[in-house]
Symmetry: C2
Amino acid sequence: MASNRISIKDVARRAKVSITTVSRVINKFPSVNPRNIKKVDQAIAELKYRPNISAQRLASGTNNTIGLVMPGYPGIFHSFFAIEIIRGVGHACESLRLDMVFHISDGNNPLNTSYLGGVIFADIIENAKQVQQAHDENVPCLVINNVVEDIDVSYIAINNFKGGKLAAEYLVSLGHRRIAVITGNLRTQAGFDRFDGFMKGIDELKVAISKELVFNGDYSRRSARQAAEYFFSMDDARRPTAVFAHSDDMALEVIAVAYEMGIRVPEDISVMGFDDNPQAIYGPVALTTIRQPVFEMAEKSVRVLHEMVTGKRDQKYRVALDPELVVRDSCLPVGAS
Amino acid sequence: MASNRISIKDVARRAKVSITTVSRVINKFPSVNPRNIKKVDQAIAELKYRPNISAQRLASGTNNTIGLVMPGYPGIFHSFFAIEIIRGVGHACESLRLDMVFHISDGNNPLNTSYLGGVIFADIIENAKQVQQAHDENVPCLVINNVVEDIDVSYIAINNFKGGKLAAEYLVSLGHRRIAVITGNLRTQAGFDRFDGFMKGIDELKVAISKELVFNGDYSRRSARQAAEYFFSMDDARRPTAVFAHSDDMALEVIAVAYEMGIRVPEDISVMGFDDNPQAIYGPVALTTIRQPVFEMAEKSVRVLHEMVTGKRDQKYRVALDPELVVRDSCLPVGAS
DNA sequence: ATGAAAGCGCTAACAG
DNA sequence: CTGTTAGCGCTTTCAT
């Protein structure tokens, strides 16, 4: 432990008051004589005193540490999603003066929640047990990016179904009929729902999509490249006129492959992404995409959790935020080149 | 605080032993009767008991929480560097059973280190004060990615100067004479050193580089795109035959722009990166780059810090790791197309 | 407005 | 191998 030898006693002695008074000024009780406040503040400064948080927590029985547990599967850290979550949660913790302890988990080791005021699960992938456990242990918890039905916990999710549908409707409205899709990891709820929403949307509009235009990706650029090479090597009659990638990153890769092969976007083919990653604005074409408010979701999750931890909220918080269509330059009506 | 009412006393009562014995089995003391271990473990399981970490810390005077403070400037979170740091630190904490509290900082608010066993600073950008403060407060701390001379702290850095030089030497050995460079943020030590090393390397080899071939970037893809457009619009006599981007991300963007403009890599122009980002292997050409072991550096930093925190290391740890050249397919001898 | 004293839940001598 | 007893540094009654 850091040499933090000076304790509240030293401060009290130096300020010639009781430790209780010192405690009071530390915790900004209103009932302290201004003179004493001054003396104590001065003593604190001179002694470079910093309260021992473990002691504070033990004595007060409070805990403003929250855990952020992220699925640890390979590649997640390179995704826009993960970064935005970390940023959003980190930012909110900073402003609420909460400590965030960060956990990468593959779901195998049980989570030690004993020193956590609450925990935020960034998606549930292979680690539903941990959520169940936290819930069983009565630790306030909240799940991000996942509509959870089987456990009675709070969540803030994105309506990915609607996002997929939005994409389908937009592309079809542009006259596209041969629309390829590069899915995310279908074993995740987000991946599945986007695909599901897209297909249902297509279906409702009486358009059919052949199986060969569905490429099972995994959010990686690598899988997008494979998909693009596959689609672009098709002969004219079968080749898609539009491709909907389930992440902006993948869409960007599709565009890159297109240019490498001398195919222009959007003139020769329309490309649509999902995320609204700012990176996607500065390429050769600004990307048309489905925006999902990840940062906001992450921030909100901290605020809600904090309310639960502090007892200001007793009931569960369960919402699915709507994504929205962001039209930029990478999609054109079919035949408009 | 999470309802964690059951305490060590309850366990002791239930197992019919003293709380000390319970404490001993919790902390895996070797000297406990197997029978008692069993009884205690059972009681713990039945009661769903989880020790109160604040109490443990207060009583033992230890603290296995470490802080990771990252500079909060825009864009950092989208960099390979930041992600690798988080991954590496997170991973090492996981295996050392340390808690990592994550801090995004613009360097303005002072850092509260009172509950931190130690602190890792991921680079120093605008926040040298915080490092100084932690050092003054006697909190074990370690700086990553920065050779720090003016404060007496430990650091693990990368020899970026050497990295830049390596790039210069390789490109020159390939016969290139008009070599463009897209720098990172020159106000960071890493950015400056890479550039410095590169220029010195060029210089030693008696090659001159005109000012117009130096583009002041900032690690963003956006700046790389600007740079590429600028370089590629030059007439044949002035146009560079190779470009060295100070990050793989930027190099990838250069390649993308090249293909968009019908310029082939490496046939028409050689491109070199810096990082060894796995993303850079799957593009149209596998990227030749300078590898810097960021993940390893991050992991190592946790281990070293942990030694400092636990008193197993008393002197400062100060190293600069060597980067290495990774030759793949994006650079060709000049005129070899 | 202030202080004395009793814990918070646990670990660490110290005996036995 | 086990239990008793002090604290760790702070907050919180309860008096004053």
